[in-house]
């Protein structure tokens, strides 16, 4: 009897432990992913030197002013472009509307630094445009005419606006599609015209969605390094590079990173609040009715088409053509064994990061499904913070703990075993992959969570009572059902890793290049022609998720309408 009691109690303990394995790994992974954020925050408070004073009196105000101007300008630009096009394609009827609906997403494939390189080549003194103008008007030199300076704050604002507006467009369009038809009809019946209805009904109800799009676009702006570096617009990101890598002052770089964290927190707060409001502003009632659209004729039709053509043309087709031409001309110089190595490096790092991010996302999302608790909820929240972290800040947050670990390990090994391990983490691709995972985990997590949510919880219970452990249930029953979602997650993370520049630039091992850093370095050396092939490759890869997105957004409302028309489904609802 006693023996049985002892045996069963030890068995009990083992089982209750195995229940917690998912929770435990989930928390552990979340903490690991949160490491850079925690590092940056602790650096802000931990530093004892008077660098703050120094920074404030020297370069910080300059960096701050530039960053604020850039964000303000880009903010205005993306709102103008994004909201107007979203309203046109959802609420108006004009030729090509269906086509523009997805064409307007194309600039999403274009990293800001790539469009900057393309336009610099296109618009600079020796470029096609100015050369053409000179030929046309017989001007001899730059003194004969005025042309706006491409490589300037203004240039950065315009080009970033052209590639970042799709964030606002995408979310605003969805909000317009989901707005209550009766609200619009009520406004029209009450005697308001199209413009008045837009400003008093549609726009206010889409405000939260616009804010979310804006927050995402500004996070990208804050993250950008390639453009502002090339245009010599000294933002905070450039500041981190200058102070840390230029002057060798890591602590100073960390201080700037802390300042950037304030921006990030403000943006996350804006995004979070807006997302919460979105629910109230978009009532579910009658949203499946067909939206009333305004048929446009005459000059209005031309104006609408023009408004949609401009962003697509200047945000995608012109730069692609410019790059294509350059790549064609410089093909022999670009298509080298080194180039193929860069492509391979990019693919390897991105694949590794995508796979790891997906695995981590699965563990975290599945743990939450298995056990709903406050701790896991917070862990998930922390784990997905990385998406808002600018690459340069992320790099600071990674290099500090990694270097500390490397040094400690090296010292210990040398002291006790007499061997030097060198830089095990900080000087290798581990750091780069880790940065990718931290930064893009939120994307994978969102995808995995969305696909998991579509699976009824009773499916889990059915599998478990049929004798499958939690992990077996996932592999056998969940994974096949969410194949599409998992693949999408992999692809989006992969592509985002390919495009990532600032973190890669800082954390990559010595003499190691990816496609992105290769493009950056050649462009920095004024070799835009040689950089074109790489740029074009990045854009082409970037098109993959955009095409997927266009397929998904095209039919959300139509699907809803179709579903509502199917009587057997309507019946099951009532």
């Amino acid at each position: 009897m006693g023996a049985i009691a002892v045996e069963s109690s030890s068995k009990m303990r083992r089982l209750s432990h195995s229940m917690d394995r998912w929770t435990l790994s989930s928390i552990l992974l979340s903490v690991l992913v949160a490491l850079p954020v925690l590092t940056v925050i602790s650096l802000a408070f931990g530093s004892t030197s008077d660098i703050w004073q120094h920074l404030l009196s020297t370069s910080l105000p300059h960096y701050l002013r530039n960053t604020l101007c850039l964000m303000l300008g880009v903010g205005v630009a993306v709102c103008l472009l994004g909201i107007s096009t979203a309203w046109l394609v959802t609420m108006c009827r004009f030729p090509g509307r269906k086509l523009f609906e997805w064409l307007l997403l194309l600039p999403l494939a274009m990293p800001a630094y790539v469009i900057a390189y393309a336009y610099t080549d296109f618009l600079e003194y020796a470029g096609v445009v100015q050369g053409g103008l000179r030929g046309l008007f017989g001007w001899q030199s730059a003194r004969d005419y005025w042309f706006p300076e491409v490589r300037s704050l203004g240039g950065a604002i315009v080009f970033m606006g052209f590639v970042l507006y799709p964030y606002v467009y995408l979310l605003t369009r969805a909000a317009f599609l989901e707005q209550s038809v009766s609200m619009i009809e009520a406004s029209r019946v009450l005697g308001r015209g199209a413009w008045s209805t837009f400003f008093s009904v549609s726009l206010p109800s889409a405000r939260p969605a616009i804010a979310v799009g804006l927050a995402l676009a500004l996070m990208e702006t804050l993250n950008d390094f390639g453009t502002v570096d090339y245009f010599a617009v000294e933002t905070l990101t450039v500041g981190i590079f200058d102070v840390w890598l230029g002057m060798g002052n890591l602590a100073g770089g960390a201080q700037i990173a802390v300042v950037m964290m304030c921006f990030v927190i403000a943006l996350i707060t804006l995004e979070g609040i807006s997302r919460r409001h979105q629910r109230y502003y978009q009532p579910a009632s009658s949203r499946l009715k067909k939206l009333p659209t305004y048929p446009l004729v005459g000059y209005k039709r031309m104006a609408a088409m023009g408004a949609c053509v401009v962003p697509v043309l200047f945000g995608f087709f012109v730069p692609v053509l410019v790059l294509g031409e350059l790549a064609w001309v410089y093909f022999d110089e670009s298509w080298t064994p080194a180039f193929r190595t860069y492509v391979l490096n990019s693919c390897l790092l991105s694949s590794a990061a995508a796979l790891i991010a997906l695995s981590v996302a699965i563990v975290i999302a599945y743990a939450r499904r298995l056990q709903s608790g406050r701790v896991l909820k917070i862990a998930t929240r922390i784990a997905s913070l990385g998406y808002a972290l600018p690459g340069a800040v992320l790099a600071v947050g990674i290099i500090v703990p990694f270097a500390a670990f490397d040094n400690a390990l090296d010292a210990w090994m040398r002291a006790y075993l007499g061997i030097s391990t060198g830089l095990l983490l900080s000087g290798t691709v581990t750091a780069v992959v880790f940065a990718y995972v931290v930064r893009f985990l939120a994307i994978a997590l969102g995808q995995v969570e969305a696909s998991l949510e579509k699976i009824s919880p009773s499916m889990d219970m059915a599998a478990r009572t049929l004798g499958y452990r939690a992990s077996e249930t996932f592999v056998r029953f969940h994974a096949p059902l969410m194949r599409g979602g998992l693949f999408t997650a992999l692809m989006i993370v992969f592509v985002d890793c390919m495009k990532e520049l600032p973190a890669t630039l800082i954390l990559r091992p010595f003499n190691f290049d990816t496609l992105a850093t290769h493009v950056y370095e050649f462009a920095s050396d004024e070799m835009l022609g040689e950089a074109a092939l790489g740029s074009l490759t990045i854009v082409t890869v970037g098109l993959l998720p955009v095409l997927l997105l266009t397929r998904m957004i095209g039919n959300t409302r139509e699907q809803g309408l179709r579903r509502a028309k199917r009587p057997e489904l309507a019946e099951s609802v009532t």
Binding site: M12, L15, T465, G467
Partner: protein, 362 residues
């Protein structure tokens, strides 16, 4: 060795979300018995089922299956090791597996031949032989539920749990399937626990019914007794239709009401209050052209074979009465009825006078 109870739920308390979904719940199920937990949504019945299946930790109490402790605070035998089968409201068939593979899902440790044999036998027994190669989405709701049942039964579970198994089916089908499932479970001597909010499902399937409210069982009895001898106002209210009529006790076996003196066995001798409410079910009120009570028809609901009349007495009190369908009266007509009560169900009066409980189940 035969055991008295296959499932023992002892004083369990579980938390679900913010509050306690189940508090101090106890019940036992004999081998081969069909037990129903019946209650409105939010009463904790599903949480109780999840606790038995092993998806819900306990704050207090203990659950034993075949005498083996499977759940106590701080210990949970994982669901996959409990050998319980489960059937769900949404069927929860694996959409990427064929019907036959769904049924075989719990048999992976069996030898291939044996497995095929088991699956074939079950499909045959459930009238599904022709559908083995189909995918779940190609089946009707009733067929899907049959497959779900076959899948749950295939590994020969010690205990079958059913969560609103018939709620997604239309009325006609659920009654037929209910009887079918009842016979099947009895035939194989399977012990089952079902939770439902639908009393008719519970009546068809349950040997014993536990009426749940706020995380606890209010009454544990046969379906017949739950209906005819509810021990609380809540149960009287929740099960079936009926009204309460105020009356004064006269002696041991009678209550004086405005309907006259009602004779019958008092179900609660302990109740000593002089003024009580008497439960009058529709089937206690019979049409009788010579009956002592005259009432006006204030509402009628055609039910096919019967018509449910709401009758108003001159005093304003309402009664419910089930008449055979050919006794067709119009609203406003006067009818005569008599009472046929052999069992008096009385409750202490409530401050707020409950007048009628016409909440007929849909």
């Amino acid at each position: 060795m035969s055991i008295e109870y296959l499932l023992e739920v002892d004083d369990i308390t579980c938390r679900y979300g913010q509050g306690r979904a189940v508090e101090g719940l106890s019940f036992h199920a004999r081998p081969g018995s069909l037990t129903c937990l019946l209650g409105p949504s939010g009463c904790g019945k599903t949480t109780a089922l999840r606790a038995i299946a092993g998806f819900q930790t306990l704050e207090k109490g203990e659950i034993r299956i075949e005498g083996q402790c499977v759940s106590t605070p701080g210990y949970l035998l994982p669901p996959e090791r409990r050998q319980v089968g489960m059937v769900f409201q949404d069927h929860a068939l694996f959409p990427h597996l064929k019907v036959a593979d769904n049924v075989a899902a719990g048999l992976r440790h069996q030898h291939d031949n044996l497995r095929r044999q088991t699956v074939r036998g079950l499909l045959e027994r459930m009238d599904l032989s022709a559908l083995g190669e189909r995918f779940p989405h190609e089946l009707s709701g009733g067929q899907q539920q049959r497959v779900a049942l076959a899948r749950a039964l295939a590994p020969r579970p010690r205990l079958l749990l059913m969560d609103e198994p018939f709620s997604n089916l239309d009325l006609d089908l659920r009654e037929r399937l209910g009887v079918e499932v009842h016979d099947l479970l009895k035939e194989h001597g399977i012990t089952a626990v079902m939770v439902t909010h639908d009393q008719y499902d519970a009546f068809v399937l349950g040997d014993e019914v536990g009426i749940m409210s706020q995380g606890n069982i209010l009454q544990w009895d046969t379906p017949y007794n739950v209906y005819h001898e509810p021990t609380s106002r809540f149960v009287a209210d929740f099960i079936g239709n009926g009204v309460f009529v105020r009356g004064t006790r006269i002696g041991e076996r009678a209550v004086n009401t405005e309907l006259g003196d009602i004779q019958g066995t008092l179900d609660r001798p302990a109740l000593t209050a002089a003024v009580v409410d008497v439960l009058i079910r529709p089937d206690d009120v019979l049409p009788d052209s010579d009956g002592p009570i005259s009432a006006r028809v204030s509402r009628k609901a055609f039910k096919g074979a019967d018509i449910m009349y709401t009758l108003t007495l001159p005093s304003g009190t309402t009664l419910l009465s089930m008449f055979p369908s050919h006794d067709n009266f119009a609203v406003g007509d006067h009818v005569r009825v008599r009472l046929n009560v052999d069992h008096l169900v009385v409750f202490p009066i409530e401050k707020t006078v409950t007048e009628s409980m016409t909440s007929s189940p849909a």
